[in-house]
C-alpha cells in the first residue's frame, strides 16, 4: 500500500490543497487559487516534498482509489 496523494498545508493560515503524483502530468497541485501541474516540488519545498517525490505515481489503486473511498466528506472523488 503506497500513497501518491498528500496534503499541501500552511496550518497557521488554515490554507490547504492536495498534491497528486500522476503518471502523465507529474505533480498536480489542487489549491484554492486553481489547479497547476508539472511542478517538481509541493511548494513547501525541502524535505517536506520528499515523500511525494519518492512515491510511485498514482495507479488508481488498480481501479478503486482508496483515497476516494476513505474521504469522509467526498472532497476526493474519481472522475472517469
Amino acid at each position: 500500500m503506497s500513497s501518491s496523494i498528500i496534503l499541501h498545508i500552511e496550518d497557521k493560515a488554515n490554507y490547504f490543497g492536495l498534491v497528486l503524483k500522476t503518471k502523465s502530468e507529474g505533480l498536480i497541485v489542487a489549491r484554492p487559487e486553481g489547479l497547476s501541474s508539472g511542478q517538481q516540488s509541493t511548494g513547501s519545498g525541502g524535505p517536506g516534498a520528499k515523500p511525494i517525490l519518492l512515491r510511485e505515481p498514482c495507479d488508481l489503486c488498480g481501479g478503486k482509489p482508496k483515497c476516494a473511498k476513505v474521504c469522509p466528506t467526498k472532497c476526493i472523488v474519481v472522475e472517469e
Binding site: 496550518d11 488554515n14 484554492p32 519545498g45 469522509p72 466528506t73
Partner: protein, 393 residues
C-alpha cells in the same frame, strides 16, 4: 512487531547523550496503555522524566487514531492534530527526556535520531515564532513543534505547552516542564513507515467502521458539533472552516479568521486567525463577555505567550478587573505566579477520567470516541488486523 517501531528513545539533557531501548512485544502485552507505560518508564529513568508516547493504535486506520501523549509527574496531556501520528513515524514509540540542559535550545527528533539543537535565539521568540523558526531552520513546514513561550521558560504553573500554534491539550502546566529543563521546544517529523499485519483487511475493516460512524453522526459543524457554545452567531460568522486531526472524519476544530475575510480561501494573510478546540477557554471568554472575535484574539495572545487562558482570565477576574484585550495584554506581559486552575478540556470527554486515560492510552481521540461510543474491546478489535495479534486487555 506490527504498527510499532520497537524502539524507545532516551535523551539525557544533562550529558547530551542519546540511547535506545527495545520496546518489546512482551512489554506491549504487559501494558497496552501508553499512559501506564509512560509511568513505568518514569519509574525506571527518574521521576523528573518527561515522556512522549504513542498508543498501540496511533497512526492506524481506526478512525481518529491520532493521539499521542506527553507525561510528566505534573500530569498528562494528549498531543493531537498530526503530532501524535508524526511522533510515531519518527522511529520511536516512546521518547524519554531526562535531566536539564545547561544551554538553551530544542530537541529535534526524526528518522530514529534525537539531537539537541542549541540556540540562543529561539528562547527570545514567542511560541508561534519558535515553530516558524524551527521549521525554517530544518527546512520542512510539516515539522510538529511542541513549544512554549515566556511563561514556560519562566517555569510558571500556568504555562501552557502549545502544539505548532494552538493550545487546548495542556491543562496541567506542562509548559513549565520545558522551562525547568531549559528546553524551548521539542520538534519532530515522521518520515518513517510502519508495517501492518494485514494492511488490506485493516483498511477495509476500518472503512466499514468509519462509514458507520459518519452515518450515525450526521452533518459536521466543527466545534459546535461537540459544544453548543460554538453555535452562537458571532462564532459562525467568522468561521473559516473546520479542520480534522489525522484520521478523524468528524472534526472538532474550527478556525476563525479575525484579520481577514473568513470566506477567503487563498493564502493572503499569514496569521489571519486561530484554531479553536479549547472548550473551557472559550467558555471562560464568553462568560467574561468577550465576543467570538475578541475571544479569538485572546487565545492567540495566550498561545504566543505560552500561558493557559482559563488561568489568565481567572486571575484578571480575581483581581477585580474587567476582562478586556488590554487587561489580557497586561496580565501576559510578565509571567507571574498565578494559579493553574486545571480546567478540563479533552479530560472532560467522559464522565469517568479513567475512560479518558484508557482511550488516550490506546492512541485514539477521547473527544471523538466519547461521541461515537467508546468500548475498549470493540475499538481494540479493529486494531487486530494491523497489530497481528490482540494484546490481553
Amino acid at each position: 512487531m506490527f504498527l510499532r517501531n520497537g524502539k524507545i528513545g532516551v535523551f539525557d539533557l544533562s550529558t547530551m547523550q542519546s540511547s535506545e531501548e527495545e520496546y518489546t512485544d512482551e512489554l506491549a502485552k504487559d501494558d497496552i496503555s501508553s499512559v501506564r507505560l509512560a509511568e513505568r518508564l518514569s519509574s525506571e529513568h527518574g521521576e523528573d522524566s518527561l515522556i512522549l508516547g504513542t498508543g498501540l493504535l496511533t497512526a492506524s486506520f481506526v478512525p481518529a487514531a491520532c493521539a499521542g501523549i506527553v507525561w510528566t509527574k505534573r500530569g498528562l496531556a494528549p498531543i493531537l492534530g498530526f503530532a501524535g501520528f508524526e511522533l510515531k513515524l519518527t522511529g520511536f514509540d516512546f521518547v524519554v527526556v531526562k535531566g536539564r540542559s545547561d544551554k538553551p535550545g530544542y530537541l529535534w527528533i526524526r528518522d530514529g535520531v534525537i539531537e539537541f539543537v542549541g540556540s540562543e535565539k529561539v528562547p527570545t521568540l514567542d511560541s508561534w515564532k519558535r515553530t516558524d523558526r524551527i521549521r525554517a531552520d530544518q527546512g520542512d513546514g510539516k515539522i510538529q513543534v511542541l513549544s512554549v513561550g515566556a511563561w514556560g521558560d519562566a517555569g510558571k504553573h500556568a504555562a501552557q505547552m502549545v502544539i505548532d500554534y494552538w493550545g487546548g491539550e495542556d491543562k496541567v502546566g506542562l509548559g513549565s516542564e520545558f522551562g525547568v529543563r531549559n528546553l524551548s521546544a521539542i520538534a519532530f517529523r515522521g518520515m518513517g513507515e510502519l508495517e501492518l499485519s494485514e494492511p488490506e483487511k485493516h483498511f477495509e475493516d476500518s472503512l466499514l467502521l468509519l462509514r458507520d460512524h459518519i452515518q450515525r453522526l450526521g452533518k459536521n459543524e466543527g466545534l459546535a458539533s461537540y459544544w453548543k457554545g460554538a453555535g452562537r452567531d458571532d462564532f459562525r460568522k467568522i468561521t473559516h472552516r473546520s479542520v480534522a486531526c489525522y484520521g478523524c472524519p468528524y472534526p472538532c476544530r474550527s478556525y476563525l479568521k479575525v484579520f481577514e475575510d473568513p470566506k477567503e480561501l487563498r493564502l493572503v494573510e499569514k496569521e489571519p486567525g486561530y484554531l479553536h478546540y479549547d472548550v473551557p477557554a472559550l467558555e471562560k471568554c464568553f462568560g467574561s463577555g468577550l465576543s467570538a472575535s475578541d475571544a479569538t484574539i485572546v487565545m492567540m495572545k495566550c498561545a504566543r505567550a505560552g500561558a493557559e487562558p482559563v488561568s489568565v482570565l481567572d486571575s484578571i477576574v480575581a483581581s477585580g478587573s474587567k476582562v478586556t484585550l488590554e487587561a489580557v495584554d497586561s496580565a501576559l506581559a510578565k509571567p507571574s505566579d498565578i494559579k493553574n486552575v486545571r480546567a478540563m478540556n479533552f479530560e472532560a470527554s467522559f464522565d469517568d477520567i479513567e475512560q479518558y486515560k484508557i482511550s488516550l492510552g490506546l492512541g485514539v481521540c477521547p473527544r471523538y470516541w466519547s461521541k461515537v461510543g467508546f468500548n475498549l474491546q470493540g475499538v481494540a478489535a479493529y486494531g487486530q488486523s494491523a497489530l497481528g495479534s490482540l494484546p490481553q486487555l
